[in-house]
Symmetry: C2
Subunit: 357 residues, 2 copies
């Protein structure tokens, strides 16, 4: 692509108006770009900080067309945008990242096959279509293992653990016949993620890997820098670069990896800005949100260098009650998402704490 | 004031929707607070990033009332809000900072009298009502001196230099009979500013003083830290603290000072977030915009500590053409204001450059 960068004053459409869309909108505003959001939720958090919110179902072709006509380029904040929605939008405006990255990010099996095809380490995996397939997969991979739906899984949903072969029928039933993937359990030392960006002209810039801690399948904390040897750090960054390049990805991608005694294993990708990249708001001159907007708008990418060590903590559900106390902490930046109701497991905000040496 | 802090989800009204209002709105969003802006300009930069824009003249009582009814507290982004506007709003909602800080910040003579009354150094000054007054003031202060309107001066407007007594009639004519103040020219080594915040309960927090460079009466550059001795730094911060306290100010205030061989002289105050405080976006966990929102919303103030050295450069008029090149710089954050037309002297954006040791 050699087209000119989108100049200030032009508009970016964002599919999805959750917290990621909200922070993308604010990053775009810093570059003088206007954002419009498409989201069926009338109380979408991004609606409060953008120039317009089209509130309609994902299959409303008229609303999607109206939305597309008012923007110059379209991106998305989550990988489960229906592909049928993209089919309506694609003839109208460029969509970045394009449908290929999205389709891969929507499908755990396609992801794993991509990683393996690039020669990158992964957990053992096998496709599962039915009970017979699950038996064969268990024979290959063994237990313990995790059965996951290929699509629409996030934050630990759509997963069932198989501790021993006798758990298989219940696990399969829990997934209600959805196409699935069986993954061998990995004995990892830590989980890291690389937030990588690829520009319209093919340049890749990676932020420093962060080290992630989950609880109940939800990210709780990312610490940067991750505890990695220089060789591991290089391996992680190169793996991310190869994945983005292979997908011809334009935008930010979160690449989750496991550090194991036998090397790095790539776990999954999210073809969008990622919760484990929120630390960049406090640690880098150009954060992951602006980096994504730059890529989507055809701007040069920011340099990605870290100028501060950061610990990011998610505020989930009732954690929101801790805001008054967090507001008194030194070297700490709060980010709240404008969500009215603090349901259990709901991401309400996050905190970036700058760590002094 | 001991009322409870404004919780996330509540609304702050901002009078004025320029770049300061825009950045206040984005800071409020980080705290989960909603903002609505009142500005007669339909293309007000803040309108693109807030929940609502009331576009009406400053004397439209019905529109002001409608605006006030939809917010919980009101603040402003510029000190020239008509006092008549505040008279309409004050019975409806709390206004922070209150009318006293605003009235003082609107009047160069009241400012100088305040500083002198607190025992702070100032340039020599005298009130000027007419030609006779100007003659008397010149006799007291001497030349060179600057004749300034008491009100509505900013960025070098409403000023006339008097190099020798013969310039006096032309200078007075240039001000068209407006009440004025004559100020002696100060032989200063550098200009600094302290961005200070005072919370609803009286706590004052100052950011590190920045060193400012102007061209044609417009701020071009702020470098932090300013070149000051520890004693000078302390004197500057204490002076700012005394001014905010004397005015019972709630919110951020910019305090401009001159460093001279005979000590610090306080030049002027702006009872609002200030261009010379934009560096805090890159150098502090809580920037001046969030600090102001915290004060106005009754939240605890952020700590104000600097975690990075920063150089802020304003992008004025045609400087906007340099954006593509600035976007390629390392350790640099761009902030563009969403203004369509780059008129000479118009502030189009700014750049924060993090300086590594």
């Amino acid at each position: 692509m050699t087209e000119a960068p989108l100049p200030p004053g032009r508009a970016i459409g964002i599919l999805g108006g959750g917290q990621l869309g909200r922070m993308l909108a604010m990053a775009a505003a810093r570059l003088g770009l206007i954002t419009r959001v498409f989201d069926p939720d009338p109380s979408a958090p991004a609606a409060q900080v953008c120039a317009g919110h089209v509130c309609a179902p994902w299959d409303d072709a008229a609303a999607l067309t109206r939305f597309a006509e008012r923007v110059d380029v379209i991106t998305y904040e989550f990988e489960n945008v229906p592909l049928a929605t993209l089919d309506i939008l694609a003839p109208l405006r460029p969509i970045r990242p394009d449908a290929r990255a999205l389709a891969t990010g929507q499908d755990r099996l396609a992801e794993k096959r991509l990683f393996a095809g690039l020669g990158l380490g992964t957990a053992p995996f096998a496709a599962v279509e039915d009970a017979g397939g699950l038996t064969a997969a268990l024979a290959k991979i063994g237990t313990p293992a995790i059965l996951k739906t290929r699509r629409l899984g996030y934050d630990g949903k759509g997963q069932a653990r198989i501790a021993e072969p006798g758990d298989a029928p219940a696990a399969l039933a829990a997934l209600r016949g959805a196409p699935a993937i069986l993954e061998g359990l990995v004995d990892f030392e830590r989980e890291i993620s690389v937030i990588a960006a690829r520009g319209a002209e093919g340049a890749v810039v990676c932020f420093d890997p962060g080290e992630n801690t989950h609880a109940e399948g939800i990210l709780r904390r990312t610490v940067v820098p991750a505890r990695l040897s220089p060789a591991q750090r290089t391996e992680a960054v190169l793996a991310a670069g190869r994945i983005l390049t292979a997908l011809d990805h334009v935008g930010v991608m979160g690449v989750e990896m496991f550090v194991t005694p036998s090397g790095l294993l790539v776990n999954e990708i999210a073809p969008r800005v990622h919760n484990s990249g929120h630390w960049t708001q406090a640690g880098c001159a150009v954060d992951q949100f602006e980096q994504h907007i730059r890529a989507v708008a055809g701007w040069p990418l920011g340099d990605g260098r870290r100028h501060a060590d950061v610990e990011m903590e998610n505020l989930i559900g009732d954690d929101i009650a801790r805001v008054p106390e967090i507001a008194r902490e030194a070297d700490t930046t709060l980010h709240l998402y404008g969500k009215a109701e603090a349901r259990p497991g709901r991401k309400m905000g996050h905190v970036n704490r700058i760590r002094r040496g």
